[in-house]
Symmetry: C2
Subunit: 182 residues, 2 copies
């Protein structure tokens, strides 16, 4: 059973207008005016794009049963009509992260950085979908897509600021924040 | 940093002679006479092959720190001159496996099925290398490659028989065993 694949393509077409491409750490991505994205048959073409990134929806790597049950109760889907603001945050983690064992990564990820708990605090206002890209051979390990209403833009800024202060984020060596509206 | 990619290609060329293609569960793979495999620049071409499978070497998903330290002390590399027997075992797991949370999968994988411990019991006789394929969109989730000396073929049979009796293996819905020699 093939996993759902996504493509984000930045260029001159796409439902989302790019407000800002802001490098958080490492190398940036080229500016572009529009961002298109879609899953599987709805994926925009990579040809002609200024840049494109691919990922897959895959299974959860750290979430435990109880955490998932809490999340499922409150996490919204994408495409809410009022969610006219969005962000794509591609991230790459250092080799030293991937060399950790599973229990060490889980300890940093949740017990000490509270990644799941912090994200859950902003649900359902900030919808998010994680795509895995590391195995696909592209320049990033993860692509996270966020959607929210304009009045929740401040909450989004707070969410990403809190995550960037965590121990987990010391393992991030490239991060770009692409802010969009439709 | 791109992950190491592998390709296995079955057809009329390759260092390894295929002794048997045996389906364990689900659909088989076509018969072929030779198997070639290599990582990155050494990967054999897929063109002209009867079938080819790709995977990536990726980080460990269940191994904890103490387990890894035990493994590192005893696990051999590939390519030992005396290892003239080999096996490729591509596996696909049911959707119900991937829908489990990380703690549930770890509990089944090691606490109840002893996957790591069983594999470790046959080290260093049976060298193994795991490749992840699920995110690449191919027909299998994992490709595991084994190498061993002819006198350890019985130990190899015992290893895979023990794993196939575990609770974890109830989640396997396709498995093919390709036995080779050089």
């Amino acid at each position: 059973m093939a996993l759902t694949r996504v493509r984000f393509a930045a260029g001159r077409v796409g439902q989302w207008k790019i407000d800002e491409v802001r490098v958080v750490r490492g190398e940036t991505l080229p500016d572009a005016s529009r961002l298109a994205h879609g899953e599987d048959a709805a994926a925009p073409p990579a040809q002609g794009a200024s840049w494109s990134l691919e990922g897959v929806r895959s299974h959860e790597r750290y979430t435990e049963r109880g955490e998932r049950e809490s999340l499922v109760r409150v996490q919204p889907g994408l495409g809410r009509p009022e969610s006219t603001r969005g962000a794509l945050i591609p991230i790459c983690k250092r080799a030293s992260w991937w060399e950790l064992s599973q229990d060490e990564r889980r300890t940093i990820f949740e017990d000490r950085s509270h990644h799941i708990a912090v994200g859950a605090h902003y649900l359902p206002a900030i919808a998010r979908r994680l795509y895995h890209a590391r195995e696909l051979g592209g320049p990033f390990d993860f692509l996270t897509w966020f959607e929210f209403a304009p009045e929740n833009a401040g909450a989004f800024d707070e969410l990403v600021a809190r995550l960037r202060e965590t121990e987990e984020w010391r393992y991030v060596d490239r991060e770009v924040e692409i802010r969009v509206r439709r």
